[in-house]
Structure formats: C-alpha cells, structure tokens
Symmetry: C2
Subunit: 248 residues, 2 copies
DNA sequence: CGAGATGTTGATGGGCCTCAATAGTCGTGG
DNA sequence: CCACGACTATTGAGGCCCATCAACATCTCG
C-alpha cells in the first residue's frame, strides 16, 4: 500500500489557472469560471521520491492524479515475476484510469525520479462531473487519448520489428516534446535502457544494438541518454507511421 | 464512409429493460427510472452484413454502439498495408471509445458476421450524462474495462511466447463465455485463424502449430473452430495468469 | 575508492517467420 | 447432386531475427 507519501495541503503554487501545464493537463478546455470551481477541488499535492510507488495493483482507487513535475512509470506484473511497462508519464499526463473498471488499480505506478503530482480525490471528481460539462468532455478526451496510445502500442508490439519499434518510439517522443515546447530533435530519454527495452518488448541487448544501428546509419546520435535526431526523414522512413499520436 | 447501413427506428424489440443483455451492456447499474430515460435515447438499430464496416479510421465519431447480436472486429492499419486486430467484440460490448480523443475514429470496425447494434448518438449521450449520474459511472467502468483489456493485450504481446499467448487467449475467452452463461469448456472461436493469429501477433502457421501442440498435450481438442478444454489446470499452468479479466 | 547499477558488445542457439505444398471446407452454379 | 474454385487451415523445410549467456566498460553514489 501507499505509505510514506508526502501529502501537503493546497498552497499558492497549486493553482491550475497559473500552472504552466494548463493547456495540456486537466483544465484544458474548461472555461474560466469552470476552472476556478475545478481548482478548488484539487486540494492536495503528492510528493514522491524516486522509486516510490504511487499505487499498486489491487489498491482501491482513491484519486485521479496529474503529474506536475517529474515522471511516472506504470507497469503490469505477472505471477511469474515478469513485468510489462505500460507507459512513461510526464508532466501534464493524468494517471488512475486503470482503476475505473472496479475502483481497484490494475497496474502499478512508480516514480522514475522525484515527482510532484496534483491529486483529485474521486469523490470530488464525481461531484465536479455533475456540475462541469467541460470537465466531462475533457475527461472523455483524455480517456480517448489513453486508448489511442494503447492501440498504437499494441500495433507496435504486434506487428513491428525491433528497429521499427525503436524508430516509432523516438518519433513519438519527439512529437511529445515538441507539443510541450521543447526541441523535437534533441532531448533526453527519461528512462533507463532496461525499462525502455521492456516497454518495447525486446531484450536490453537488442535495444542497445538497435541504437548502435541507427547511429551507424547516421539517423540519430546518442550518448548515454541524450538523443539527437540527425535525419528525421530517415527515421520516419524506418517507422512507417505518421507522427499523429501522443507518446505512450 | 458508412454507406448502405440499414438503420431502422426504435421498435418494441429495442427496449433495454427487456433486453437479455442488460446486465452486461450499457444499462448495467442504472436505476429503473434512469433506465427508462436512457432507453428512449437509444433511438436506432443498425444492421450490418458480414464484412460491412461500422466505421473507418478518420470518420467523425457520431455515435456509441452496443452490440445486440453478431460480432465486430476492430483493427488498426499502417501505411504499409499491415494491420493489427485490436479486439473481437461480441453481444453486450460497447464500441466507439477510440473516437473520444478528437471526435474522430482512430481504428476500423467491421462485422465478422451479420450483426445488429444499438446506436446511441453522441449528442444524446452527452445530454444523458448531464442528468444520469449512473450513466457516467457506467461509462467510466466500461472505459476502465477497455483500458484493462488493452493492458492485458500489451502484456501478452510484449512478454509472452506464442504458446502462452494462445493459452491465455483461450482462458480469457472461456471466462468471457462463462460470464454470459455459456459453457466455459466448450465453445466456438468466432474468428478465422488469420484474424486470431494477427491479434496474437504471430503468423497463422505458428498459430496452427500451437493448436496442434496443445492438442498433443491433451490440454484442448479443436476441430475447425470448435474448442473443447480438456485440462483447465494444464491451460492455466501454460498461461501463468489468473483468469480475472474480460477477453480483449 | 569500491560496489552496484547501467550500458555495450560478441558468440551462440532457438523460436518463429517465410515460403511452399497439401488438405479440408464453403459457397456457387451447372 | 456433384463439380469447381476460392477460401481456410495444416504441415514441412529452411533461414533469419532476436533472446540468452557472458564479458567488459562506464557511470553513480555511499
């Protein structure tokens, strides 16, 4: 269960209307009056240290979370000790939809680095849906985006070879950063090789070899976790996919 | 676009309160009064012939659908002509969540046999969410279930070997039929080998070999599309997974 | 500095894809 | 009723992609 999580009450920093993520986070699409109603219900901030869990499989769904800073990895575990990374989540992303089916989380969420999240308790959320039509719309959009991301991941894992999986991932990450105002040709991988390989359904050694292969083709250059895309068209050509979806 | 679809107005047969699927479909969890409000908005029935499409990638989201009879396959296509089956949907299942992100369908849906669906226009849906708290709850549950199914599929494709994928699939299908009151040890595969192999991320030949392998181990018997599970524990042992999720 | 975590590179084998041929099934029409 | 072709499914042979094992290099941090 969740223990040792640092909760703290609402402070001046916890104002959606002044948050620099408001265009991609929860409040996206809410009117000014709706927003003021909304932000008064986001009554807590959660702080996690690196490797600390936000929730585990089987935990009761208590809140929906938005990442304010840091990053979160979600994953499933099997009875045999295997695991599958489901996604890497960054500022502006929402977490907790995995618990909607039966109010119980079906996956695990852990902080990849020190992370701050905004917490919207489920009871507040349901009340807000009653009075804020815009929030219902936003929620359905967010849920739809999550489903689309899963679809893309299934396509990647089911049909692509390892090189194409990596190329596709890099392109999505590039788009993802671009949307948030960062460079789309140079960025850092927020996760270790081990996690990325697992996410992409391959062995870490294979991932390393594919990075080397892309470097040799002069499509990218990578040092440790810093990626530079040298040939965007080449990368697109390897991935056979338009860059239309969010990163998963 | 969708053409040649047979729409017909509401008739006596289109009553949710008398539908034998009401426990697993949309109305699940609605009160009696909510249900009567709800069913007056499900104003059409859609009939599809085998191989006819319900919607295609890029179509505007107009309605959410519930399958009344028949079965629907959803899939993604790539620019290279590849495709990935996302799911096989049967009576009581809902369709259309893939369009919530931007009111545009991101996948294709086609009838695997002659199929009848109940149609809930999006405008009605949004109005109903305004007045029916139970509907919002049900929708979030359904969406959560869909997300959980995707999670399981990602795990299957990302981590399992072909034999384990098939065993897991058969177990989920077994649970699925059991929930609907059918036999969990003998049932028919509603899809051809080609589609099932694609869904499970393997070549049709590999799928055929895995069926043969399971037969040789006397875990199942299969003739054409009729499956009989001979050794449920053996199947569970091969799949390394509890049977807790709906079939995808 | 030393230990553990992280990442790279090489050698080897196996799981599964591909290609090909055969068999079985279904729908259609003579 | 059966013949025919199209579709679906099975089975075999060969080879490649990638997992595994192992060794080494690099980085992080107490």
């Amino acid at each position: 269960m969740v223990t040792n999580i640092s909760h703290q009450g609402k402070g001046s920093s916890n104002s959606c209307s002044h948050c620099n993520l408001k265009k991609i986070c929860f409040p996206h699409g809410l009117s000014a009056s709706e927003l003021s109603t909304f932000e008064s219900s986001v009554d807590q901030t959660v702080k996690l240290q690196k490797k600390q869990k936000l929730y585990s499989r089987g935990d009761t769904l208590k809140s929906v979370y938005a990442i304010k800073a840091g990053s979160i990895k979600t994953y499933l575990s099997t009875s045999k000790g295997q695991s599958q990374v489901l996604g890497f989540h960054m500022p502006g992303d929402l977490l907790g939809f995995d618990g909607f089916a039966d109010d119980t989380h079906s996956s695990d969420a852990v902080a990849m680095e020190d992370t701050i999240l905004c917490e919207l308790p489920l009871a507040n959320f349901e009340n807000l849906c009653e009075v804020l039509p815009g929030l219902r719309k936003v929620m359905m959009q967010q849920v739809g985006s999550e489903i689309n991301r899963h679809h893309s991941l299934v396509l990647t894992l089911g049909q692509m070879q390892t090189e194409e999986r990596l190329a596709t991932f890099l392109l999505r990450l590039s788009c993802y950063y671009q949307k948030r105002g960062f460079s789309c040709v140079q960025f850092n991988l927020p996760m270790p090789r081990h996690d990325l390989a697992n996410f992409l359904g391959m062995a870490p050694e294979t991932l390393s070899r594919m990075f080397a292969k892309l470097e040799k083709q002069q499509v990218i250059s990578i040092q440790r976790r810093e990626v530079t895309i040298l040939d965007m068209d080449g990368l697109l050509n390897l991935s056979h996919e338009m860059c239309t979806h969010d990163v998963a």
